[in-house]
């Protein structure tokens, strides 16, 4: 039986120092430290601690030091998220979420944290300077940074089977998960002209499968760091997706993928073979074609468009839901909503992509760009179109083009604001977040699979959290409420 699809999204953000020299590591560090510092000033119980793997990040009351300790800047937040500097980008890793809707919520909460970080950093910088953050995946010069997804899977399923069966989905889901891009950054297949692509990321993928994440990127990533009991669980690490701003796009990215993985775990493919002859070529061909009609060569010699292939996956998923229910998606109602929206978006794309401009980023962006093009009579190579592409992803509310669009929202502003500080209730993020809320000054470090307390006595006390489905509110809320101190908590835990 498929294990519950606990999931999460890690987003590397683009970063720009406006009015200053570019130093992305320093800028990224400043964003994280400014945010954490603001929290400290809001009355958190921080102490002056050493930097490094400190769970609370590098925080000092008062002004920022001129030379910021930049390596290993890392903060774990009270909502269970991890906010840190990785490869010269600020990175936000959502807490473990129980379902696709919760993933949307915490993804949006992560954007709020970045917005607040920008505001906090601006207050510390001289007039006219600012650090600006972009939720996208490339700089149009051949440099790409990722938006990764993580899915909990049953370790018993052979990895080769996962890779084989999920590849067609990864190649084709960009018809609704693509964030759109003006032009291309790599040589196109056959040297063809591509004025607009579905995906920001697709053209950076050069291998079918592999361990790399920064070059020769593989469609299926073999990283095996479960951060959980490795006998029972696998964490599938997915690097092939775009950063999404449209909530329905994020919802389907996580939800449809969770369903496909459940199909794989529970042998739900019913003998249907969707193997592509050349996935690396196909992922680009799909991205190049906004008409969604390019036939992709299948391993069995037939051909199929990306839309048709997604319809096949959807049909299999619907049958799976009818046969087995959708408990593994974390919530039956959320699972049903994934199916309904998946069907509705595929149908919309099939009749006229403009139908899904409120749900799908590449469509919303294209509509904007074409409208602008018409108004000013511009060619595709006009810099203003590239500027629109980039500014779509600017996270500043006053500059973001996405923020000006009327798109469909799945989560309320109020819920998003709560999710900035409150952890999910149905995964181990709950225990992590609550411990940080209550006893941050006693937490020596908080990791995905453990939390280490410093009670002031030797040795440090480590609480393992090897099951993403334990440490939930149901398991620990009463225990936490009854514990008057971390020492008390630890005593009760060992009882």
């Amino acid at each position: 039986m498929a294990v519950p699809k606990v999931c999460g999204i890690e987003t590397e953000y683009g970063v720009q120092h406006v009015g200053g020299d570019q130093n992305p590591v320093a800028s990224s560090s400043m964003l994280v430290n400014a945010y954490v510092s603001d929290l400290a000033q809001a009355g958190w119980d921080f102490e002056d601690e050493a930097p490094g793997n400190d769970a609370r990040g590098f925080a000092r009351e008062g002004s920022m030091p001129p030379e910021i300790e930049t390596h290993l800047v890392n903060a774990v937040l009270t909502n269970g998220a991890r906010y840190y500097v990785d490869h010269a980008h600020p990175e936000m890793s959502t807490p473990e979420c129980a379902d696709a809707l919760e993933a949307v919520l915490y993804d949006k909460a992560g954007e709020i944290v970045l917005m607040r970080s920008m505001a906090a950093a601006k207050r510390m910088l001289p007039d006219g300077q600012a650090i600006v953050v972009y939720k996208n995946n490339s700089d149009r010069k051949g440099n790409s940074y990722g938006t990764h997804e993580n899915y909990l899977m049953d370790r018993a399923v052979p990895f080769s089977r996962i890779a084989h069966l999920v590849t067609p989905h990864f190649v084709t889901r960009q018809i609704y998960t693509g964030a759109g891009k003006v032009g291309t950054e790599t040589p196109t297949i056959g040297g063809r002209s591509v004025p607009y692509q579905l995906s920001q990321r697709s053209e950076f993928f050069e291998e079918e499968i592999g361990l790399e994440t920064t070059l020769k990127r593989p469609i299926v990533n073999t990283r095996d760091e479960p951060h959980a009991d490795p006998q029972r669980y696998r964490r599938l690490h997915v690097i092939v997706g775009d950063a999404n701003l449209a909530e329905v796009a994020t919802f389907l990215k996580i939800g449809a993928t969770s369903l496909v993985l459940a199909l794989i775990e529970d042998d739900g493919f019913d003998g249907v073979d969707l193997t592509l002859a050349n996935p690396v070529q196909a992922i680009r061909l799909v991205s190049y074609d906004t008409t969604l009609s390019t036939p992709l060569e299948m391993a069995d010699g037939t051909s199929c468009t990306a839309l048709e292939l997604q319809w096949e996956l959807f049909s299999l998923a619907r049958k799976y839901a009818d046969d087995r229910g959708l408990e593994c998606l974390g919530d039956e109602a959320v699972g049903r909503d994934v199916l309904e929206r998946w069907e509705s978006v595929l149908h919309g794309l099939e009749t006229d992509p403009a139908n899904v401009s409120r749900q799908v980023d590449w469509v919303a962006k294209l509509q904007l760009i074409e409208g602008y093009q018409d108004r000013h009579n511009l060619d595709w190579d006009d810099h203003r179109l590239a500027a629109l592409d980039l500014q779509y992803h600017d996270l500043r509310p006053e500059r973001s083009l996405f923020a000006r669009l009327d798109t469909e929202h799945l989560v309320s502003e109020q819920d998003v604001l709560s999710a900035v500080t409150e952890p999910p209730r149905r995964t181990r993020a709950y225990f992590r977040g609550q411990c940080l809320k209550r006893w941050a000054s006693s937490v020596a470090s908080a990791n995905w699979d453990s939390i280490v307390f410093d009670l002031g006595t030797d040795p440090l006390r480590r609480v393992p959290m090897m099951d993403p489905l334990r440490g939930t509110a149901e398991h620990t809320e009463e225990l936490l409420k009854a514990s008057s101190s971390p020492a008390d908590l630890l005593t009760r835990l060992s009882a």
Binding site: E12, D86, T214
Partner: protein, 65 residues
């Protein structure tokens, strides 16, 4: 493989295709959409980075994961 009707695809565009006969409601909706898009484009003209070429050229990132 399930048979799906191959629909003739529109040109790579989200532009509204002109229908030969438009019902009154459809053209009203079309007008409203066009007017909303116009308002949006007005706004964008105001907030779009002034020197587009420089803005796009200066946006350089380190490769990430």
């Amino acid at each position: 493989m399930a048979e799906r009707e191959q629909k003739r695809r529109p040109a790579p565009s989200t532009r509204q295709e002109e229908a030969p006969e438009e019902a009154p409601q459809a053209s009203e909706a079309g007008e409203r959409l066009k007017s909303e898009l116009d308002d949006l484009l007005d706004e964008i003209d105001e907030v779009l980075e002034e020197n587009a070429e420089e803005f796009v050229r200066n946006y350089v990132q380190k490769g990430g994961e």
